[in-house]
């Protein structure tokens, strides 16, 4: 096909049904998206009608209340503390598991699949849900948040640690085996130096994620700045809410910045 001096260059579809196959696939995708839109009641009219209320909400938020900052310092730092220990405990939990989840180091395929599924389960449950469970189990407070972040984080860290170990150069391990070096020393001198930069990068990425997560844990009573956010909204003190949001934003931005700087340094 050509348009004046232009010619259409498209590789013909390689499937069995040619362009009919492509058309059918496109139609199927459209139907699926339509089905999801109906289910989630996407409605441009509602959005349009809601704009004045959103504007009203925004107007009530300005100016943010600077005096509220004084009450926010402690919960904000608490969120940070929760994030730090949530990350650290996540590392501690995932470390002994991750070796069995690395295809090349796992003692057997069965153990490999079992541990991968275990890590999937840990990671599969959202932090807020875990926080609700831990609040119910050990009571309100930041420690429930630490445990929630640790459990969810262990699932993610374990998977990433294992994948880093699957990518190592196994040649050196063969040299260790040939020299009769046992498994512990082989891990410590053959595997760990190879994965350490990736592992540290993963840990800092997790810390960054946990700082973001820890700011909302307070909504379910698991400590930190999220509690102030929810209660100020419930009391219709929208200027306090605005201060909360700004502090959270600042925390997340700083965590992001520090994490990416550190990760760049390690590489």
């Amino acid at each position: 096909m050509s348009f004046g001096t232009l010619q259409l260059v498209i590789r013909p579809p390689q499937n069995r049904f040619g362009w009919w196959g492509v058309g059918a696939l496109a139609l199927a995708i459209l139907v699926f998206l339509w089905w999801a839109a109906v289910g989630s009641q996407i409605n441009a009219g509602n959005l349009w009608n809601g704009i004045p209320y959103m504007w009203d909400f925004l107007v009530r938020m300005v100016p943010p209340n600077p005096e509220f900052l004084e009450r926010l310092w402690k919960p904000a730092l608490e969120s940070l503390q929760v994030a730090v220990w949530g990350t650290l405990l996540g590392v501690v939990i995932s470390l002994p598991i991750c070796f069995f989840a690395a295809r090349n180091l796992s003692p057997s395929p069965a153990i490999f699949h079992a541990t991968r599924q275990l890590l999937n389960c840990l990671r599969g449950i959202n932090e807020i849900i875990l926080a609700l469970i831990f609040v119910a189990a050990i009571g309100l407070g930041p420690f429930a948040g630490v445990l929630a972040l640790a459990i969810h984080g262990a699932g993610m860290l374990g998977k990433f640690f294992a994948e880093a170990m699957e990518d190592i150069d196994e040649g050196p391990l063969e040299a260790f085996r040939s020299a009769g070096v046992g498994p512990f020393k082989t891990f410590f001198f053959g595997v760990l130096p190879q994965v350490l930069p990736t592992w540290l990068g993963t840990i800092f990425y997790r810390l960054e994620t946990n700082v973001r997560q820890s700011t909302v844990l307070g909504m379910v009573g698991a400590g930190g700045i999220g509690f102030e956010l929810v209660s100020s909204m419930k009391l219709f003190k929208y200027q306090d809410t605005a201060t909360c949001i700004l502090v959270i934003l600042a925390m997340v931005l700083v965590a992001d910045l520090v994490s990416s700087r550190v990760r760049a340094l390690i590489r």
């Binding site: 150069d169 050196p172 040299a175 009769g180 070096v181 410590f188 001198f189 930069p197």
Partner: protein, 269 residues
């Protein structure tokens, strides 16, 4: 003296080694020639226990060698690899210490504490390949040739009876290859270490080998000194080889002298 007796190995029903008998004297530099897939690597891996042979055994100085039951700290079989296999982010000295690590405490090693005697042996081995000044460099800061010399030092640190080399210069340029093979041969001669070296370059085999073993189809089809290696035998080892240069690296033979019949798997004395 290291003797390999009746070594057999097959992978998924496909025989790779069909009964290999070899013996190498202390300090002897033996080169194994053969095309890819002839079983050269498998032979070395079966000797040091990286692969489990189906039949046969390795006897070192009168004792059967079993990689699994070798006494701690006693590793008479060392290996040098094509891709050096150094840990790139570890210091050169620690890479050499790997050769001594089998007998060392895990706990102390983890604290980066090593017996002074073992560190001295490692430093001495580094000095043998003239890289003592690089002890604190990181593995990946060295050139390919230097990395392979560290590989030699690591093998030496085991204080082995035999060093197995699996295509040790396959990824090095000709000049560096010669340097690396030169170090290897000189040191092993001086220390009385037997060397079994897989090569695929006929010219290096003739230059450095004191004895050449030709491997084809999982069997030894030639076992003699390099000056008995004729171009007929080279063609037997590498069927279908078309390289007029081969005859140039082989020792010229007076026309009157009849070509000796190829010696096929001579009996081990």
């Amino acid at each position: 003296m290291i003797t390999i007796e009746g070594l057999k190995k097959s992978y998924a029903g496909r025989p790779v080694l069909q009964g290999i008998d070899l013996s190498v004297k202390a300090g002897e530099f033996l080169v194994v020639l053969g095309p890819s897939g002839a079983g050269k690597s498998t032979l070395l891996r079966c000797i040091n226990g990286l692969a489990q042979p189906d039949a046969g055994r390795t006897v070192i100085d009168g004792t059967v060698f079993d990689s699994k039951r070798a006494a701690a700290g006693k590793r008479p079989v060392a290996m040098i690899f094509q891709h050096h296999n150094l840990v790139k982010r570890l210091s050169v000295l620690k890479n050499v210490l790997v050769g001594r690590m089998a007998g060392l405490s895990s706990f102390l090693s983890m604290l980066q504490l090593f017996p002074r005697q073992d560190v001295e042996i490692a430093m001495d081995c580094l000095a043998r390949v003239e890289l003592a000044h690089k002890a604190n460099s990181r593995g990946d800061q060295l050139s390919g040739g230097e990395q392979q010399r560290v590989g030699i030092a690591r093998a030496l640190a085991q204080q082995p009876a035999v060093i197995l080399c699996d295509e040790p210069v396959a990824s090095l340029d000709p000049k560096t290859s010669r340097i690396v093979l030169g170090y290897l041969k000189a040191i092993c001669k001086a220390e009385g270490i037997a060397v079994i070296c897989n090569l695929h370059q006929v010219d290096y085999a003739v230059e450095f080998g004191e004895r050449i073993v030709g491997l084809s189809g999982g069997r030894v089809i030639f076992d003699d000194t390099p000056d008995h290696l004729t171009s007929e035998i080279v063609h037997q080892i590498y069927p279908g080889l078309e390289d007029p240069g081969i005859s140039r690296v082989l020792k010229p033979r007076p026309a009157s002298q009849p070509v000796l019949a190829p010696m096929i798997a001579p009996a081990i004395a």
